[in-house]
């Protein structure tokens, strides 16, 4: 009847009851995430949860998470609760659909809180299609109260999937370099994608930057100045033990892990010149991939692990280049503008996001295909931007603005500010560890 998703995960009871599919064959509202950009936002109501008053602020917090998640996509609009005819539904599976149809919402998220005691929380959530008068999703979550936001993020994923047919990006985390305790120090933190639940992974009073978590979340590659030079370390996240991969004076920065987690692509300066290397975790050997007078930095693996995109100024200005994992004959893929850097390859398809210079010379977030076609500027630009990174579902991009605030962007959408979390200096968007 129930499935334990992981050792530590709360129990998810999936109530796939036959009436879930009762309306199969009818036309349900579907959002094409690649096209929706014309300003249509699917209106959704999130009324008070049944039993919410007994749960102090928990119910409201979960509703706030649902609202924030769905609004950040730029695909949904949460209808103003002041317009709701019913403050809360009578029962989860019996909505007065007419009361919701009349205020113009397409869907309703109904929820119920059951205080389980002992710091535990049990909650059930259903997604209703108002026009079709049926339940699209029904989930029950059981677990410690402090994981209430995670439960809400998971239901946001269900809502996203119901309307787009794609995995949701909400139950995910980001790894960030943030200001440390001292004026000159920086720490590395991991937190929910929306900035909550932050905890420090590296904090030793020195300058620690450029964190890149391995695909299974077990290893953190980063650069630390703790021994006087910017050296690359790989930390075992579970034990906290560090392995030092490079020793100065040359700069070393991690770029990207191969999808199978065996290789780390990095840049390392030898003889005063920054080159791309692969570090093989099995043989513990560094293999040099580039050999050129220019700056070569920021390697990012293709989803199949066979190729890398990186930044090089070998042509006189920083541009994106492609090479395979044997380092053979790099080819240039960007030709517009004089500043194209920080590439990140989508985990799902042939799309690379990067920070580039627009026609006016100011910076913006772009995407391009690996053959150099389909160059798209995703936002107006004009400020300073750092480390665009794809959501694990490959449908959203997070980037950092001038003062460390994070934004979420979708092709065809406009940037949305992530409202909370510490100022980040670089970030990587990853699946929630331990799933």
């Amino acid at each position: 009847m129930y499935t334990a998703l992981s050792r530590h995960a709360f129990v998810v009871i999936v109530l796939l009851i036959s009436w879930c599919n009762a309306g199969f064959g009818q036309t349900q509202v579907q959002i094409d995430i690649t096209q929706a950009g014309g300003g249509y936002l699917l209106p959704i109501a999130i009324p008070r949860l049944i039993g919410e008053s007994a749960g102090a602020t928990i119910g409201k917090e979960m509703r706030d998470v649902l609202r924030q998640d769905l609004e950040l996509t730029g695909l949904f609009r949460i209808a103003d609760p002041a317009t709701y005819i019913e403050e809360a539904p009578q029962a989860l599976n019996q909505l007065h659909y007419d009361s919701w149809a009349v205020i113009g919402v397409a869907a309703v998220i109904a929820g119920q809180l059951t205080a389980a005691g002992g710091g535990n929380l049990a909650t059930q959530m259903t997604l209703h299609d108002v026009a079709q008068r049926r339940v699209l999703e029904n989930r029950e979550y059981n677990g410690p109260q402090e994981r209430r936001r995670e439960m809400a993020h998971r239901f946001s994923n269900q809502v996203f999937r119901a309307f787009t047919g794609e995995d949701g990006p909400f139950d995910s985390q980001v790894v960030c370099a943030v200001s440390g305790g001292g004026r000159q120090s920086k720490d590395i933190m991991i937190m929910d994608y929306d900035g909550y639940g932050a905890r420090r992974l590296v904090s030793d009073g020195s300058l620690n930057i450029s964190p890149v978590l391995s695909p299974d979340g077990s290893k953190l590659a980063y650069t630390s100045y703790r021994n006087g030079t910017p050296d690359l370390y790989i930390r075992n996240v579970r034990t906290g033990q560090d392995e030092r991969i490079t020793s100065g004076p040359g700069l070393a920065l991690p770029g990207s892990w191969s999808p199978d987690g065996r290789y780390l692509a990095l840049n390392f300066t030898v003889d005063g010149n920054s080159e791309i290397f692969l570090y093989d975790l099995q043989s513990r050997r560094l293999t040099r991939l580039t050999n050129d007078w220019g700056i070569d930095v920021s390697p990012s693996f293709s989803p199949d692990g066979s190729r890398l995109v990186f930044t090089s100024d070998r042509g006189g200005s920083p541009q994106l280049y492609l090479t395979d994992i044997n380092g053979s004959s790099p080819t240039r893929i960007t030709y517009e503008g004089r500043y194209n850097t920080a590439p990140s390859w989508s985990p799902r398809e042939d799309a690379i996001t990067f920070v580039g210079s627009s026609d006016k010379g100011s910076l913006a977030i772009y995407t391009i295909r690996s053959d150099g076609s389909r160059l798209r500027r995703l936002m107006d630009g004009g400020g300073t931007y750092e480390s665009p990174t794809w959501a694990p579902n490959g449908r959203f991009i997070m980037y950092i603005g001038g003062t460390g605030q994070r934004y979420i962007l979708r092709e065809g959408g406009s940037p949305r500010l992530v409202p909370s979390g510490p100022a980040c200096l670089s970030s990587q968007w990853v699946p929630r560890a331990g799933q």
């Binding site: 910017p230 700069l251 300066t269 700056i295 920021s298 920070v355 910076l363 300073t384």
Partner: protein, 193 residues
């Protein structure tokens, strides 16, 4: 070397000798320990008193030492405070940067035991990894020019901070100009004074 650099070098020498003359006039009248010339110093006010003529030779010596120490301190501060600046997305040494490096090289030659670290920095525009590599290039180009001016390689180490440690935390063109820099830090070898 090019005409430009030899020109800038001779201009530098003129500037340096003018500076030394100026410093010498104002602070430390050289080669004279008679009271006559000291009356022209900025300490003249004190010299006017009757005690002036009774100043002992050892007093004068310690005054000279203090002046020399002050002079050395100022030269040292100029060495560490005066950064060399770069254009956006460039690690090419400009002529003003070369002139400053010539002063720094002269100071390092006069202070033979000193070792330094050359820090390369960038402004906040552009991206972290590229700026770290660019800062490294700035530090390396600076070190290379110092080597050409006769400073031994082992006396200089380099490090890049990219855009991690701006001198001016502002977000304006004037802040960016100050932040695209190579900065000298004295690691050791200073004679204690």
């Amino acid at each position: 070397m090019t005409l430009q650099s030899s020109l800038s070098r001779s201009m530098f020498l003129i500037a340096l000798s003018t500076l030394l003359l100026a410093v010498g006039c104002a602070k430390n009248p050289p080669e004279t320990d008679s009271t006559a010339s000291t009356s022209s110093t900025s300490d003249g006010g004190r010299m006017a008193g009757p005690g002036a003529t009774s100043r002992s030779a050892s007093d004068q010596q310690s005054l000279d030492e203090r002046r020399r120490a002050e002079q050395e301190r100022m030269a040292r501060e100029a060495f560490t405070n005066q950064d060399i600046l770069f254009d956006f997305d460039s690690y090419t040494l400009r002529s003003d940067a070369k002139a400053i490096l010539e002063q720094k090289a002269a100071w390092m030659k006069a202070n033979a035991g000193v070792t330094v670290q050359i820090e390369g920095h960038c402004d906040e525009r552009g991206t972290n990894a590229y700026n770290l590599a660019l800062g490294e290039r700035r530090a390396n180009a600076t070190k290379q020019y110092m080597s050409l001016l006769g400073i031994e390689g082992p006396r200089m180490s380099t490090i890049s901070y990219g855009e991690e440690r701006p001198l001016d935390p502002g977000h304006s063109e004037s802040a960016w100009t100050k932040n695209r820099r190579a900065h000298f830090v004295i690691l050791g070898g200073l004679k204690s004074s």
